[in-house]
Symmetry: C2
Subunit: 361 residues, 2 copies
């Protein structure tokens, strides 16, 4: 095997694969990246057994062959090269790397021991990659990181006529975002949040093609193919908790709310859910918090609406700050009472919504 490739293309692919391929494992074969040299270029692949990733690297190849090398070492070496033009050649069990005045010889691994990864070719559905990535990125924060939380550790992807919805929740808050989808046949499924992090990273412009398998989703783009193991289970009926009867709402710049909540939260009691009181009346939002070290109070102007003249309730400051993360411009909080969740939504018309439980009085 002999291949000529650019440093830029090779480092780009290895950077993605190094995020998936573990740095330690009881199975040393998993630490390797598999390289399949073909007519059109190199296909680099690796797995963490939850997620398989294959990246395509254009290259001029002679004598196509396959081999594996330690992924993180290979990545570090390729990044350190001083020349943009890199040649790879396989001689026996050694991979020779040449670039400028540099010559490297790397021991290759046992190709047979590397897990066989299969990426299906036909596509069942096609989504806009950037829209999907933006939607997943907006709701990711609300998913649980706790092992015992079952399906809450995943992000649900729902298909509706004309649009798709992603939903994340940890039982205390729900985040959702809709985006337009053409075509039908999309299945509802739950993707582990950690796999979603890797998926959003590889989604760029263009189309993301979905292929449905047994407990598995394959996503294909121009550059990559990714197999994601899906979570099994029933996702709770989150729509049930979204209040319909809005009695008071207020609007203000998201950054103003973020800074004011951030300030009073410093003195909020960490052992009492970072409790911050919200009091709305006469076009003003008064925030207050109290803890072991002192008290904080902040007043900001808001555009107030709804049939109730005033309302007092409390949120976990962390939930409010997280929910504001994906919001730019102005934000509206729609409230139904002190014991029902609040709805936080940008006024820019993006189909993002956060539903946050209130804390008990």
């Amino acid at each position: 095997m002999h291949a000529a490739v650019t440093k830029k293309a090779l480092t780009g692919a290895l950077a993605l694969l190094e995020r998936i391929i573990p740095t330690r494992s009881s199975n040393p074969a998993l630490l390797h990246v598999r390289v399949d040299a073909g007519e059109a270029g190199l296909r680099l692949s690796g797995t963490n057994l939850e997620l398989d990733l294959e990246c395509f690297v254009p290259a001029e190849v002679q004598f196509p062959e396959s081999f594996t090398v330690p992924a993180h070492l290979f990545g570090q070496l390729v990044r350190s090269l001083g020349s943009e033009l890199v040649t790879l050649s396989l001689e026996g069990s050694e991979l020779h790397v040449h670039a400028g005045g540099t010559s490297l010889s790397l021991q290759t691994g046992d190709l047979q021991a590397h897990p066989a990864l299969a990426f299906p070719n036909q596509a069942d559905l096609s989504l806009d990659a950037a829209e999907l990535a933006r939607a997943l990125g907006s709701v990711r924060y609300a998913a649980s990181n706790e092992a015992f939380q079952a399906v809450f550790r995943g992000i649900k992807l729902e298909h509706h006529p004309g649009f798709a919805r992603v939903v994340a929740s940890d039982g205390y808050r729900v985040a959702l975002r809709d985006f337009p989808v053409e075509g039908t046949g999309g299945r509802n499924l739950i993707i582990p949040a950690r796999s979603v992090d890797e998926l959003t990273r590889v989604l760029k412009d263009g189309q993301a093609r979905f292929t449905y398998g047994e407990g598995m989703l394959t996503v294909t783009t121009e550059q990559i193919r990714m197999n994601l193991k899906l979570l099994d289970g029933e996702y709770p009926d989150y729509e049930r908790v979204i209040p319909k009867d809005i009695r008071l709402q207020f609007t203000l710049p998201a950054v103003t709310l973020k800074e004011a909540v951030g300030r009073v939260a410093v003195l909020a009691d960490k052992n009492a859910n970072n409790r911050v009181e919200f009091m709305v009346s006469e076009g003003k939002l008064r925030l207050s918090a109290e803890g072991d070290y002192g008290r904080a109070q902040d007043t900001v102007e808001v555009q107030q609406g709804g049939r109730e003249p005033a309302m007092s309730l409390a949120f976990n400051a962390r939930h409010v700050l997280d929910a504001l993360g994906p919001v730019e411009g102005d934000v509206t909080l729609r409230l139904s009472g002190a014991s029902t969740p609040g709805i936080l939504q940008p006024v820019d018309g993006s189909a993002y919504q956060a539903i946050i439980v209130t804390l008990r009085v």
Copy 2:
């Protein structure tokens, strides 16, 4: 006490103090910053018992008083404020902070329990603050972080006629840098490297005035006063290890050497001192390394000089990369043989030198 102060000045001082003041301690008084409000402004001070720091913050003060507040909480609160004008007022045991629409009340600490810090006023010597900081910053890497290494955990400051020298070593390498000093009466002393890190951070332009105390150095600038506990002990005679008989030398851009050594070092054996072979002959430097995963070789052009036509020796790659840290432009390596240390020096005329032991053949 009532004080009007800018957020910028207060956050600047607190950022420096938060680096010194511990976040946990068996003596809770140490977690507090002491504020002495006087006619001209606020003096903020704190200590980690190795290092005392006082920062001056200009303020309009009425009814001067002193108090303490939890340093890290106070820093976090002040940084979060949305207005540049901040007023502080002390009422009983509570400090009230007002800024824009924000009101905070903080419990103050026990003023009597806070350690009394004394900063002498007279100065014994005056140094250029920026020169001192640059010199200390250049050699810091060579000091040891190992508790058992006694004086090697410190940086030595030597006074010679017309110049001062800072020296750091861990027994395997020495780094030194000279800088001009006017005036006499400077004492040789050893400052703990961790205190040097804080000192270099607070030294800006202008003069650093030294006051010598009992096992203690006080450094005073326009903005700060710092007491540094000194290390006791005899610093080894490092000049003894600097080779005088240079038999071969070569010069190349520092960045070229850094990148080439960095590349081959990836494959060097971590359990064999990151050994990298240097072979110089005919205007070329050939670097090579070998480890469990493979071999690396790199060739770069150099300007070669000296009476020997060729030389082969080995260094710890980490030592060479560290020594190159403070070097810009071209660098010269002066060699005396395979078993004597090498001298690395920038050709820009800055008085920095690194002396590095060679590894056994």
